[in-house]
Symmetry: C3
Subunit: 429 residues, 3 copies
């Protein structure tokens, strides 16, 4: 896979799906999942009926929107859903009504500080309606009678989600989660589904797959709670590392949000990759959390799930506005995040515990090409990356531990591990 | 209890008891304890006979003083015990003798650097006599024959101490200790008995009392050793937190002296209160110790006892001189220390371990008033103090642990715990 | 033993043995060991036959050299082994051959940056030959036919090493290792054998010896691997602290290289001595290792062996050249390192765990001379080094732990331990 080709694929994904009206439920979610299934045919799509109990929560009614707009007293059509689905407050109830501006304006949302942007607002769990509008447009509105048209349905139906299970040599699982409930925004959140889809494809094509992979595409919060209510037993038994994939589309520095326990295998590997391959990444604490790790790391669930992101939700001005658009992200930004997750997955796959096969240092000059035979002042054949590595193969440290102790990238060690195993110097345990 | 009323009570306590001649033993101690019993009628007063063995120590003879003074060659009466009991070295033996200045001066103690102050000196365990005098007065003394009169008794008798036991719902105990062996000094040490007496009163009036309280008023060192020799078994079994209350009368910054183990519950709670409610407090190490924690934390005793003080013994110039007087302390200083100990006690009482009752985050918008229903860019109902708290209710962290993790004062958490329990979201374990 | 006498002994040792041609094997090693046996008659000398398997290694053939030199086209004799044995590459095969300069120069080694020095080079495990020459001399050589004479033998024979076992009251062992395979160089490595020999003598003369001492004089790498292949079972069972003694001859600051585990008893004691008795010592990490600790700390061997050195191998320009000579080291430098190891051994010998014999502080004024009887403002008889020490005698901390906690040198504590035991205040456990 070439850099250019993959960068384009990822960006194309976001472009293609950008116009759809995703929400917790509805046809926008179904269309999104069908598009993903073209990339990763192992995707299974599930429908959970309205009213299903999931721990403290209940699957809400399904929401769909045909059209929505406002007609001004001057007869101008504004806040057209068909032009930008952010104009309509998510889960707005149907409405067809005339009203004076004084009443209408209680249902209009805007951002004075970002006067050109349309904010993104929802009201999932309380019946309500509203429109989002740029402040500059809002300021032009005058008194008079407005006609409000909201052609939505809020009915018993389904919550739709996708799941890919890719069996590995081991039952132990790597878990990837991303969400598909945001309408026309790019970094948060079409970047996550884009990268997760192509990661799933990459993993499905691995010639050797050590771990089993559980990869899900769900609406945020209610989706992860629903998924855990069905799967937390098996996940608690098997998941050794998980990643919440979100906000991975821009081209700024990486950031890291730990799991609640903070020192899981997922955290260790993520930090090794970030420290060795991603300059100047930013570290958050678990108090800065805000996505589905809130559920995955909840007491009693306790999964080892952390996040590697580009610019984190809430930390950029364009967040949750119409400015989080196709210009905010870039093919390079998407590809860099994709590559970072590939590194994480490869590091996990090769993160074995090794044990030296012989007592005392092996006589490495017996192995062709490894060492010079001449011991001079500036040639210390007895010390070097290979002997440093073997010296910590004590049956307790794993590959990443040793990488961190001897200050080498995991790939630099992986380069010579085959030779050492072949020569019977170390063994996996 | 109003601030003003309590401040006045505490200061009045010190004023009332200031003139008494307290020492390891004697009537000054008895009078002091009787005064305290008026505040906290649950006080039991015990008398331990001279000669009683307590570990490596023996209860000394009882010492009382009727009068003591010196007559100068000029016929002037100086160093009058009745004017200031600090003039007489503690435990001075009886004497009625004329002597030249050369002999007398071997028994005179003064502080050249604090020429107006009378030092405080004792000789508990070796028979001796002496007078303490300001350096300015000492300089005026001339050669000649002096008449020395010390009308003391040093006879078999009793060591007197007080104990309050306030039963709680649990057998586990909070332990408070203060000492009553210092004569006319205010910060060290009438401030400790004042605050401890009114803390005992406060605790005795608690409507719900989770822990049992063991509160003692003893002479320093020999008193704590004697008390431990009688009670260390039950204390070792039950005491979960203890505090040595001393030097709590001035109005300067707080200070903290850890227990020997350093990370006990007492230390954790004291530090939480100091860090959240007392600016710029000073931290000492256990090597700076000097009061009865020396006994409580001794190997084999190992009680979790630390100290929260104002200006620590030895750390202020007035310490152990006549300048540690009623002007050195203040009603405000006493009240602030009293309030700090109330906070410590309340924090201990409410320091339960909680466990989330449901898996995954609860749907808090079902509870009236807790959360907005509208999810906007700047309103993150999913993150906040309440969810932060629940997120760490994993059955391992106690309330103070979580307060420290999520950077909240324990009171701010306690405010909403009732609501969470009532709504079945968390439970005590 | 006087400072002057011991300094002279140590320096004399290096002077006497400097000219010998030591290598992995051969008569230079035998002569060196015989000299050491004069100092410490308990030395046993062992001979291990060529071909003996030791883990991954095999004892090489024995190498001896009678003579070696080059005759220039002008008839000048250069690179004379008899003038400086560094001229000949270690383990050079026999040769008697004429050749043009172009061929000869492939076998000549020099250091352009240190043009007056002869480098030290070996080729133990691949048959080869060569001469080492100063760059200044090398530059003068002209084209023409050179006569090369190498009168060496490389035949089946023995690897020779020495071992001293000094039994103690306990089976537990202190292990000292040094190497005797370097030809005419002083800091690296006649300083190590010099100090180790006189340490062995010091230990053999101890009136009371708590631990058993295992002290070995071996060739580096192959020697320690051979020794471990014969002794690692008993060593793993018994060795509680070990030290690789090397580079201890110059008069610069001390340095410390930890064991692989890093926090062994050996490390703790070495650090206590360095921090309290050796100013400005330098700390290395185990990644900087390069001597026989590589074998002693190898996974599966796992002995607690660290190094206290003067200027570490590789860290000084003279290292592995003819400039590491008798002028590079000094009697004072040797003596200082000797004294430091004596401190380490004494600290280990007295490093017991003590337990306070009584509950609560003992009444120390009962012991003559320990404390003043008068309690004044500036005389705190209750706090001091003795009570600080007893206060941490909890049956868990050892002497060095307490020294570190209360910021005292181990000797300052040891001074009063006898008195405390005698008075039944503490006991060994």
């Amino acid at each position: 896979m070439k850099l250019k080709e993959m960068s384009d694929n990822l960006y194309q994904f976001v472009e293609d799906l950008f116009p759809l009206n995703r929400s917790l439920t509805g046809n926008g979610v179904r269309q999104t999942l069908n598009y993903i299934k073209d990339i990763i045919p192992e995707l299974n799509i599930y429908e959970i009926p309205t009213g299903t109990k999931c721990f403290d929560w209940t699957i809400p009614r399904e929401w769909n929107c045909n059209d929505a707009y406002i007609i001004t007293p001057e007869g101008e059509k504004i806040c057209e859903f068909k032009k930008n689905n952010l104009h309509l407050v998510g889960y707005s109830i149907p409405l067809n009504k005339e009203m004076p501006f004084n009443e209408l304006k209680k249902h209009l949302y805007f951002l004075e500080k970002q006067p050109d942007s349309i904010p993104y607002i929802t009201s999932y769990y309380k019946e309500n309606w509203g429109f989002c509008i740029s402040y500059n447009q809002y300021k032009k509105l005058k008194d008079g009678i407005y006609k409000v048209k909201i052609d939505t349905t809020l009915e018993n139906g389904y919550l739709t989600y996708g799941e890919v299970i890719l069996k590995g040599e081991e039952e132990k699982e790597i878990f990837l989660s991303t969400y598909i409930c945001h309408p026309s925004m790019a970094n948060n959140e079409l970047s996550g589904p884009a990268i997760t889809s192509y990661l799933a494809k990459f993993i499905s094509e691995l010639k050797v797959r050590r771990y089993t992979y559980r990869i899900i595409f769900i609406p945020e919060t209610i989706g992860s709670i629903m998924y855990l209510s069905k799967n937390h037993d098996v996940m608690k038994r098997n998941v050794i590392s998980g990643f919440q994939i979100t906000c991975v589309g821009d081209n700024n520095s990486f950031s890291y949000l730990p799991s609640r326990q903070g020192n899981s295998l997922a955290d260790k590997v993520a930090l090794h990759i970030l420290e060795n391959y991603c300059l100047n990444f930013k570290k958050y604490t678990y108090l800065d959390r805000g996505s589905d790790e809130r559920q995955y790391c909840f007491p009693g669930i306790d999964l080892p799930v952390c996040s590697v992101m580009r610019t984190k939700y809430r930390e950029y001005d364009e967040y949750h506005t119409s400015l989080d658009n196709l210009e905010y992200i870039s093919p390079q930004g998407l590809f860099g995040a994709y590559k970072t997750y590939i590194n994480i997955i490869e590091a996990l796959e090769c993160n074995y515990i090794y044990m030296a096969n012989i007592l005392c240092e092996p006589q490495l000059n017996k192995i062709d090409g490894l060492y010079s035979d001449l011991y001079t002042k500036n040639n210390y054949p007895n010390i070097g990356n290979i002997l440093n590595f073997i010296t910590y193969c004590d049956g307790k440290n794993d590959l990443i531990d040793i990488s961190n102790i001897i200050n080498l990238k995991y790939k630099d060690i992986n380069n010579f591990i085959g030779l050492l195993i072949q020569n019977n110097i170390i063994r996996k345990i």
